[in-house]
């Protein structure tokens, strides 16, 4: 693995993203609209609904966003990449990019939600660490699945069918961690859940890095 190459790809992804500002804007608009819609229909959002909303919006906005990251490029671009980069560099860069993108999406969703529905989080440290580890897991699954659906010719239905069941365990753990951090429930062993997330992340990451090169060759 070559760190500078990873950095190059990462920066390239970022600049491509900023050039297509309408696409990024679209995703944020999606998040804002959903939050507003739900705010209007619920009028008063309690902490429980807040956590659930947060992760549902995050899941779908994130899915939309990551689908693009592999699908927007054409076959020729892939061939070009193939001659240029080591597959592991490429996937790590893509993953980092997705992670950063999802994290910023997360921050923006939280910002929008705070405006409409307040910010009920009481233990901030737990919330932030839990969410970051969880988002990393979501990013890994989404990246892997977007690779699969890109190989399959950019089928976005396939993407959501494959990705949603795979991220379910992560989202369930995230919901629990958020519920604890807004003090909906108390759980002294919540550290265990975070370790659980970390270990899920690491096995998924390992599997992805092992599998990507063989998928990539097509």
């Amino acid at each position: 693995m070559n760190i500078s190459k990873v950095k190059d790809i990462f920066i390239k992804e970022l600049s491509v993203e900023f050039r297509q500002r309408f696409a990024v804007g679209g995703i944020f608009l999606f998040a804002a609209t959903v939050v507003f819609l739900i705010y209007k229909s619920f009028n008063d959002i309690n902490p429980r609904e807040w956590t659930i909303l947060l992760w549902i919006i995050m899941l779908f906005a994130g899915l939309n966003a990551v689908v693009k990251s592999f699908l927007q490029e054409r076959r020729e671009t892939y061939l070009y990449y193939y001659t240029l980069f080591d597959p592991i560099d490429l996937i790590v860069a893509k993953l980092m990019y997705n992670f950063v993108f999802l994290t910023s999406l997360f921050v923006i969703i939280i910002a929008i939600m705070s405006v409409f529905a307040g910010f009920p989080v009481k233990s901030l440290g737990l919330f932030v660490t839990g969410s970051l580890v969880g988002i990393l897991g979501i990013a890994i699954v989404f990246t892997f699945v977007s690779v699969i659906s890109a190989t399959e010719g950019g089928n976005s239905t396939l993407m959501s069918i494959l990705a949603l069941p795979l991220v379910l365990p992560i989202v369930l753990l995230l919901l629990k961690i958020s519920a604890v951090s807004v003090r909906l429930m108390t759980d002294t062993s919540i550290g265990q859940d975070i370790w659980m997330l970390v270990s899920i992340d690491s096995i998924l990451l390992g599997a992805m890095i092992l599998l990507f090169p063989s998928l990539w060759r097509s």
Partner: protein, 77 residues
């Protein structure tokens, strides 16, 4: 074509689940429950064995039907 395939498979699974759960639910009248709870709930064991058997049988029947179709295609050639 491709999307059709996905939709078909998804549709089939949804229908399958609905049928399994509804058919069990419809029979879940209280008499049935009393009957099943009779003699130490032995009939629920029988029901479980029956479900396994029926499940395996349905799978084998489907395989059989697929094989018949394939045989026809081979014969046609």
């Amino acid at each position: 074509m491709k999307n059709n395939n996905i939709q078909n498979t998804v549709f089939r699974f949804v229908v399958f689940f609905l049928i399994t759960f509804l058919s069990v639910d419809l029979r879940a009248e209280s008499e049935v429950i009393d009957f099943m709870r009779n003699s130490g709930k032995i009939y629920s064991v029988v029901a479980v064995v029956a479900v396994i058997f029926i499940g395996l049988a349905i799978y084998l029947f489907r395989l059989d039907a697929k094989l018949t179709k394939l045989e026809k295609r081979i014969n046609d050639q």
